[in-house]
Symmetry: C2
Subunit: 267 residues, 2 copies
């Protein structure tokens, strides 16, 4: 349990894992991946692979597009792309290279194949608890990469050795996160919540596909179960939709602030 | 408002302010100063000055002991030393060099001469609100020192430009901090709470000085109004004191965990 959000992990991941002389592969599936790439480049060599930017990030790249670097330090992916409404429905095959996943926006929404990851990080505020806590799960052998020259608070080993209590943590946030975990268990754990999330997403996408009136912004095989994004036939209709939704108690449905008013609707 | 506690500021201060080719002066008054020095040395040249380590940190150094470096990047001090029970009762004179103060353990306990500081940082969990929020006050012209090569989350300019909202902050912690600030105002603000704190500390120190039974661990002119530390004639009596205090509802009076059982009593 750390602080600083996923944004600080964009830096801590390469600081700890991108050892001198090696390179890291970053799969570019959206705005958050771009931010992660920007920070990693401050640390070392980054290969951007499988970018779907040319397709407005409307899809997750196929395995064949990835061209992963043999012997890379790690492969970085963004599990779910909040703004673009896409999600990895099958994990990429990184071979023996550790897979690092920014799972901020879909962590614990479905079962996770932990064994296939080298590191998972997630800001708490979407699926885990209140803002101000970040979950990091790291494969124990990768801790050996964290150099002693790293700043104490930016070194994963510090937090592992001290059971996340090197400094005073966000105690209240962690307490609330614990309550959320208990609630998740009461829902049948990750497989239980997965069924619920699939049902919710299927209901929305079925309506989007039924009439042709709504237009999903992500390709069907890349659709996110967490963030359902779509457009209406005109911007005026989108404004009316957001207004009427707000009047019914559904607030903040306009696209993410980073993409301004062009994002259509965002559930 | 940042996250990561004062411990992350031990790194961010030199990362941002200790520009290449310059040196920083660190006044060594205790365990927290030592930690700050350790991180600053990862960034650049550090001159440790005015150390009272030889006196078991039982006092704040006099101005004449400081031997500050002309043209230093900044002078770093620890406003109050929790573990050692000492506090700066008069700010050191740093001349035209910016004074950087770790005020984690006495922030807003008394009026602050903001104009004499270049930067003040304070973890929230002692005097401001719940753990997980860190207050940083920086003089605007010092922001020019933050290099573009710094990691985004570790660059003070990022947080200033974005009104502390570059990433999702610890919203609940900041809300509670706001409530504490309103309460502080209702107490007459910083001068009001100062009177209360002086009265509380004076009551305790008067009792310590009255009988000779208790022995204050810090020199009188360096005594902290925040942390009153003292010993009893024997370790057995100290154990009995802690036990009886706990039975009366005063918990956690044993010295700070960093110094184990040797710290005597800590109010």
């Amino acid at each position: 349990m750390l602080q600083g959000g996923a944004s600080l992990q964009f830096s801590m991941v390469p600081m700890n894992l991108l050892t001198p002389g090696s390179a890291a592969d970053y799969i570019d599936t959206g705005s958050w991946a771009e931010k992660a790439i920007k920070e990693a480049r401050r640390v070392g060599t980054v290969h951007v692979t499988g970018s779907t930017k040319a397709d407005h990030y409307a899809r997750i790249p196929a395995q064949a597009e990835l061209e992963l670097t043999p012997g890379a330090a790690y492969v970085h992916m963004t599990s779910n792309n909040t703004i673009e409404g896409t999600q990895w429905n099958v994990l990429p095959d990184a071979g023996s290279v550790p897979l690092v996943s920014d799972a901020s926006s879909d962590i614990f929404s479905r079962p996770i194949d932990i064994a296939r990851h080298g590191l998972i990080y997630a800001g708490a505020q979407k699926n885990l608890g209140p803002a101000g806590v970040t979950l990091v799960i790291i494969r124990e052998d990768l801790l050996a990469r964290s150099a002693d020259t790293l700043h104490t608070m930016l070194n994963y080993s510090t937090h592992v050795k001290n059971d996340s209590l090197y400094n005073t943590p966000n105690t209240f946030g962690i307490y609330l996160l614990g309550l959320t975990m208990k609630w998740l268990r009461s829902q049948g754990g990750l497989s239980g919540i997965h069924v619920i999330n699939e049902r919710k997403a299927a209901t929305l996408y079925a309506e989007i596909d039924r009439t042709g009136f709504y237009r999903g912004t992500s390709q069907k095989d890349s659709r996110s179960r967490m963030n359902v994004t779509f457009r209406l036939p005109s911007e005026d209709l989108e404004k009316a939709f957001v207004r009427e939704a707000a009047a019914s108690g559904f607030d903040g449905l306009k696209g993410h602030r980073l993409v301004g008013g062009d994002a259509g609707i965002h559930l």
